[in-house]
Every structure is written in structure tokens, then in C-alpha cells.
Symmetry: C2
Subunit: 102 residues, 2 copies
DNA sequence: ACGCTATTTCCATAAACATAGAAATAAGAA
DNA sequence: TTCTTATTTCTATGTTTATGGAAATAGCGT
């Protein structure tokens, strides 16, 4: 799948909110087992519905996915997708930058 | 200067718009001499004021700066700042990722 | 079926964002 | 000073986003 401007912009936009960036960062560190919504709620101390909205935003940008286990929903980072976004940015920063290359 | 969540989120938010990401990408490739606003306008074919607003957004996130030469304003990427943003993201993706490390 | 826990969706509202034409400003030349 | 080019700022408007309580849904146990 080719990464497009629209695609990447969408991901960056969703990450471009303090709470969502915090959530995402926390999820990245939780690894592939992810983290339960309840656990996130406990750590962040924000209203359930606000958290749900933010989680939904990250999912809409395919940055995370959710896995249910009984009544518990886990949020898991889509690492490949995240790598794509970073790669897109790196492709930008490595061309004609003021570093030794230029 | 330490990169904070707020800081990074701000940068990501500003990059999280198709046109702004396109502008930024174009500027990165133009190198340290930057690019004139007029040139950007020619390439992007969007109204002057819309372009100005977008440029202002990128500047407000310290992703670019402007340099005047007579009546011409050049936009130049703040590469250090950009590197910081990328580093922040990479710090996230290299810890407990599903790669061989875990 | 009922009750409980976990979480999302609905609904409403205020704030923020994106857009673009018009007006204003900045700089240079005559 | 006037005129011209380059660009920003102002103004207005419509759209989108962020927030959070209430209602609804999902899953499980009794």
C-alpha cells in the first residue's frame, strides 16, 4: 500500500492532539498485547466518553485497532502503519537537508 | 530545549492537513535557501490568502521560518525542529515494538 | 431474565479550523 | 510622491473538532 499525502496527513492530524498523542505513546510502550480502555482511563483520568472519542479518532486513522476479550476492549497500535508515517516524514527530511549531504 | 507532548502535538497537528503537508514536503526539498511564497503559490495554484494562512500555521508551530529579500518572502524549513519531531516519534516506535526486540 | 461491568454512541454545545475575497501593508522603482 | 509587485491581515462564513453527561450496547454471571 502506497502512503499518500492524504493518508499521512490524516494520521498526523489525529496524533496532533495532546491527549491522543499521550494515549498513542502509552500504547506504543504497551507492545502488541495492547492496553485495556479501562486501564487507559485509570491512567489518564479523563471522562469515559472523551476517551472513547479519542480512541475512535486514532482508530479512524488506522493508527490503532481494538481487540475484545469478554467485556474488556484492548487498544493495540498498528505498528506497520506507524512505521509508514515515520518513513514518509523521514523521506522528507533526508533530501537536500542542511546536513552533510547537501 | 526539551520536546514536550504539547509541542509535538502542535507540530503534528499543523502538518496534519493535506495542503500544509504538501507545502512542507516541497519546502524540505528546496533546502536551506527555501522557496518564495510566490513560487509556492504558482506550484500549488491556491488563493494567496489561503496559502498565507497555511504558511502562518506552519510558522506558528516553528516548523518553518520566513526570510525577506526585498518584496519577496522566502519560506525555509526549520530542520532542527523537524528532526526533533521525528525523533520524538521514533522514541515511541522503538520501545516494545513487535519487532525482534520484543 | 436480571444485574453488573466495560465501553461506545448519542446528543448538544462551544470552540476551533479552513477558506477566500477585499483591504492593508511591505518593499522597490520611477 | 506615485505606481507596482509581493504578501499579509481582516472579515465573514461554513465546516469540523473537542468535550462530556446521558442513554445505549456488549459481554458475562447468577
Amino acid at each position: 500500500m502506497t502512503t499518500t499525502i492524504e493518508d499521512t496527513a490524516k494520521a498526523l492530524k489525529e496524533l496532533g492532539h495532546p491527549i491522543r498523542l499521550t494515549i498513542f505513546k502509552r500504547l506504543v510502550k504497551s507492545g502488541i498485547q495492547g492496553l485495556a480502555v479501562g486501564q487507559l482511563q485509570k491512567e489518564l483520568q479523563i471522562p469515559n466518553s472523551t476517551l472513547s472519542h479519542h480512541i475512535s479518532s486514532l482508530a479512524s486513522a488506522s493508527l490503532i485497532r481494538q481487540r475484545r476479550e469478554g467485556t474488556t476492549l484492548y487498544c493495540v497500535v498498528e505498528y506497520d502503519r506507524f512505521m509508514q508515517v515515520i518513513s514518509f516524514l523521514q523521506d522528507e527530511c533526508c533530501i537536500e537537508s542542511p546536513s552533510p549531504i547537501s
